[in-house]
Amino acid sequence: MSELLRERALVLMRAPGSFALAALPTLLAVCSALAMFSLFLLAQDVSPLEALRLMFKGAFGSSFAWANSLQRAAPLMLTALCVALPARAGLVVIGGEGALALGGLAAGSVAVMAPSLAVKAAVPLMVLMGALIGGLWIAFAGMLRQWRGVNETIGSLLLSYLGIALFNHLVEGALRDPASLNKPSTLPLPESWMVGAMPGLEVHWGFAFGAAACVLAWIFLRWSVPGFALNVVGGNVNVARLVGLPVDRLVIGACFAGGAAAGIAGAFEVAAVQGSANASLLSGYGYAGILVAFAARQNPLAVIVCAVLVGGIGASGSLLQRRLGLPDAATLVLQGLIFANLLAWEALQGRLANWQLRLSSLGARDV
């Protein structure tokens, strides 16, 4: 009995150690990215300490800053799922921006097609339409890969460019509200359709929706049979074929789910932030979502945390611009540095696996 207890205690003691080891490359990557960013700022004659202080202030320094960060995190969680879900099947899909644009357009077109709908029907319909169009768009990239052997990274990005062209064509053409002169937009949603803020917060319901989607995705991948099958496909596709898993259906399904998430992100941007589909939708959430997914190591729960952090980086841009006169691309530079560092520090992971093994064998010897 006491033996068993000791073993349990050892396992518990080991767990934080191995968790810390797993998080170590990510932490090191962020630290080295911040160091490089500081050097970059020094080269621009800007005090890095002041810039980092302002970034923290602009991201999480006040309730207004928090609201801004979380508002940006809402679409990021969903576009990150567009990368993370197909990644579980071994695909690198980077077409989230196009799916987001088309999802937003589909949501905006609901107001054009059926302006007299009741609120209770309109908002779910907008989300559903966004999910359907976004999902089909990315599922097409999955189909091209499974059925035609077209590389999904290039295919999804090309589809994304095509989607954005279609978006611009329709917003400036058939679906344009004639009253929108300077900034082509679709017909504005009726005031009552707008998705409001969550009680007690200044953040719209899209954030809760995104977080719930991440948790659901995690539960699906961790506990469901199709989720397990998807992980098998991602681990070794030959094994998956050998045991008779429907590989094509699983891969395309994962792409559809990811695209649907990105489409919903677009729908919420229209229904909660913009009020109509216009070019402001194309502000790079799809690309930043790639960073979020990789930083989270394609784990949907970690996506929530990383989306808030990356949202914070985006939110701090305007403060850097106003106080230090830095171009708004400063946040893009930091994001790029973090991304490149994350991937480069991945090299450490192999060494870490060795240490982890040694750690656990140490524990085993004690028992």
């Binding site: 091209l144 499974q146 279609l166 960073l291 990789f294 691309a329 400063a330 790029g336």
Partner: protein, 306 residues
């Protein structure tokens, strides 16, 4: 449609094939070298944008477009070197790091290039091959930039180099079968790093073409994904430099469709016409790829087509 309109359109497309196709040519030659060594560099898009920015900036600061061009090539070389070095570390995925480099390069270029959006930098000179023709449409179509003949020469040189020189054969061997190359004593990682760096320099030149020739100014929307399309273009060209030349001209013509249609007065739906290269790329990839089967000419170590 009357005959004059059709001929204007055709001449516009021919001129456009060269004008719009030249950056595709340089970037795809760069990607071809990189992929021959067995690596994929999706970061060429970022390198292209960085090359466009640094070339324009240096041309403006120094007053000589050729110094700008050199700087763009050097910038591409450095970024390619970075990709080559990092991807030589264990467990680093070249496709993923390429995406990282794409985001980093675009961010850096937007940041550093903020001050160069307004001023006009000296441009690379154009050669007017059609000065003896009376028709002004032909004359403007045949006013060809100096970089195009250089690109054609380079693709011929690469065609010969990859086929019949020792370094070319070493590069192909490293890309086709790592084990054999290692057994023969070739430094696999070094060869790949050099190939990626040289490929980056080509992409930098392609970027400088965008800012120093056509469209001929620096702005944040300058690149429309040429770096990514070049990857698809190399697949279509089956990793042959002369194939890259032909494919780049085809893509250039597709890219010139929008402006050519506008010149004859068709301007509705120009977003769709401007997206023609993407649709063409996708269509070509659908037509030329096969599931679970590698194409002829594919470097064996390439992760892209597995």
């Amino acid at each position: 449609m009357s005959e004059a309109v059709v001929s204007t359109l055709a001449i516009g497309m021919i001129g456009g094939a060269i004008r719009v196709g030249t950056p595709y040519l340089f970037v795809s030659l760069g990607e071809c070298i990189t992929e021959k060594g067995g690596r994929v560099n999706l970061g060429l898009e970022g390198i292209l944008v960085m090359g466009a920015m640094s070339g324009y900036a240096l041309s403006y600061l120094s007053g000589s477009p050729w110094i700008g061009l050199l700087c763009a090539a050097a910038m591409g070389l450095c970024m390619g070197l970075l990709h080559g070095l990092i991807c030589s570390l264990p467990r680093v995925n070249d496709i993923a790091f390429g995406i990282g480099l794409m985001l980093l390069g675009t961010g850096l270029a937007f940041f550093l290039g903020k001050g160069f959006i307004q001023p006009q930098a000296p441009q690379l000179p154009a050669l007017s091959l059609g000065s003896f023709i009376a028709d002004p449409r032909w004359r403007s179509a045949l006013s060809i930039n100096a970089l195009f003949p250089i690109g054609v020469l380079l693709s011929l040189l690469l065609h010969w180099g990859l086929r019949s020189t020792r370094p070319g054969l070493a590069l192909r061997l490293v890309g086709d079968h790592e084990g054999t190359a290692r057994a023969l004593g070739y430094p696999v990682a070094t060869v790949r790093i050099i190939a990626t760096a040289v490929g980056g320099a080509f992409a930098g030149v392609g970027g400088a073409y965008l800012s120093l020739c056509y469209p001929g100014s620096w702005s944040e929307g300058l690149s429309s994904g040429q770096g990514i399309m070049a990857v698809a273009l190399v697949i279509f060209a089956r990793w042959r430099p002369l194939g890259c030349l032909a494919a780049a001209m085809l893509f250039g013509a597709a890219g010139a469709l929008g402006p050519a249609l506008q010149s004859i007065g068709i301007s509705s739906g120009y977003h769709l016409f401007n997206a023609a290269p993407y649709a063409l790329t996708l269509a070509i990839m659908i037509a030329s790829c096969r599931p679970r089967q590698t194409l002829g000419g594919t470097p064996g170590e390439l992760s892209l087509t597995r």
